[in-house]
Symmetry: C2
Subunit: 323 residues, 2 copies
């Protein structure tokens, strides 16, 4: 069954989501209209997912919808913002009703889980690609900026690193593993990363700077260091590499996946030593661990890595879409 | 010369645009941060342009940048919003420095013309496609909603209709014309439509409902009528068809282009008869004409067209991306 553009919107994307008092106009006019509560600022983030670059051709519509929202929520999490609204621009080769039903059901499941309302968007015909813009709220002066790290801050990451990369390589058939449970676990870590939204919100009272790990720890932490004009010493022995990786792959692969590939969508953040006790209290609320992997140094000391107490040289490139 | 994703952003898209007191954080963090002034609401609109659907393969980077911004500004104009900020997601097959220089120069020329600041976005590798989200401000309760037309309102359109469609058909080699001036004029109307931003802002004190003509007058006016639960009588003799069209093409083609093809990005709006004098005063400030083409009727009377005082039956389909 084929639908027109307007039918696609009304059938699949105009749903009865709970309306918030700050939404004046949602889908159905030339633009959406929202109010921003007093003393709040609006955080705006946008991410495009393109077939072949951000997801493989055979991805299920459910996983694609999940991932599109997860990567955008992750950007808000890295600011400590409360997600509120989203707009969806979807370009697809044809209007396939089964695909659209699956995509939109998964899309709204994920939005509802995080209390995010779809307020507008665009539907087009062309090679499959999705752009989501996501909007969140923050009290003034509470954002976790990349530029706020200070010398002496401890550097933390949430959860574990590397499993998403291994999942991607399994899907691409670049690596193989017999154990189906392990295989499925790693692929799920790649397809359904959990954005650290609630952790980000809790950390905005505690942390100084934060970023989400989308391009690889080295590349993403570099952004904090460059923006804050600092260096860092990282203890690679402390890296929270997924145990499933350690038990199934050579250590050098695990390290490379954790440092250079990204797509874990964990948070990397810096905390002043005076806030560590507060952070330990907050940490108990969450199922994921917060692991200290190093500390911020003066810029002159550079970005250094230590393994078994010896300084080592690493390739510092994260993922780049054009190379 | 090929650049990485981060080099593309810093070389071409991180420019010294005037910073506004409501912008807290622009490009360079996980999200942008903006404040909304007291008693204002934020208008959000997003549009994707895909190669082959919204623009032809051989479009110049300058025209593509212009059109991307123009169609988005046009959505804000139809709400009567003041444009303020934008985010750009650009997907392109390769990082071509000449293309990027031309695109970004034209992009910023257009943004600066309308005092719009680029505050974020995303750069990706894939088939050429551009998604722009645009943000504007409005005083509370002043938006020109599609749902606000009332029975008895007069229906107006700005400027002239049909030239953009003729320009598109010339580019697609579906029609031909010898006169180079006429040809260039029509193609320019297609590639460089002028969004009626300032007209929209002036009209928010005067008009009831508005929409921009992107899919064709019939399709777009239908949205106002459906949302307002009204009908309309349209006098086709009053349609402001571009004189260049009238002088060069058969009348039936001109009518079809004006009614069904769209891409004129003129405003269609309704005005209560008691506001006509106020509107005539405002009209004098602008170079474009505002033409009355009919009036709003009760819904039971339907959507009717008259030509030489006779009721006629028209095909009421605008442009649809999937058919």
């Amino acid at each position: 069954m084929k639908y027109t553009e307007f039918e696609i919107i009304s059938r699949y994307f105009q749903r009865n989501q709970k309306k918030d008092c700050n939404e004046i106009k949602g889908i159905g006019d030339d633009s959406a209209l929202i109010k921003i509560p007093k003393n709040n600022v609006l955080a705006i983030s946008t991410d495009t997912l393109v077939e072949g670059t951000h997801f493989l051709k055979d991805i299920s519509p459910e996983d694609l919808a999940y991932k599109t929202i997860a990567v955008n929520l992750s950007d808000l999490a890295a600011m400590g913002a409360n997600p509120k609204w989203t707009t969806l621009s979807i370009t697809m080769p044809k209007s396939d009703s089964l695909w659209l039903a699956k995509f939109s059901n998964s899309f709204f499941d994920m939005l509802n889980k995080y209390s995010v309302k779809l307020i507008g968007g665009d539907t087009n015909c062309g090679p499959l690609s999705i752009t989501l813009s996501i909007y969140g709220l923050l009290k003034k002066n509470t954002a976790l900026l990349r530029s706020n790290a200070n010398v002496g801050d401890l550097i933390y990451v949430t959860g574990t690193l590397g499993a998403s990369a291994a999942g991607l390589f399994l899907l691409k058939k670049k690596i193989f593993i017999k154990n189906a449970n392990v295989r499925n676990y790693l692929i799920k870590k790649h397809l359904n990363p959990v954005p650290r939204v609630f952790e980000g919100i809790a950390l905005r009272k505690i942390a100084n700077a934060a970023i989400d790990i989308s391009d690889g720890l080295i590349s993403d932490l570099s952004h904090i260091l460059n923006n804050s004009q600092c260096g860092a010493n990282i203890n690679l022995n402390m890296l929270p590499i997924s145990k499933v990786l350690i038990n199934n792959f050579q250590h050098q692969y695990c390290l490379d996946w954790a440092l250079n590939i990204g797509e874990d969508y964990e948070l990397c953040f810096t905390v002043s030593r005076k806030n560590i006790k507060k952070m330990d209290l907050i940490k108990k609320k969450f199922l994921v661990n917060f692991t200290c992997i190093g500390y911020v140094t003066p810029i002159e000391q550079g970005f250094n890595f230590f393994y078994n107490k010896k300084k080592i040289i690493l390739n510092k490139n994260g993922f780049d879409h054009f190379n």
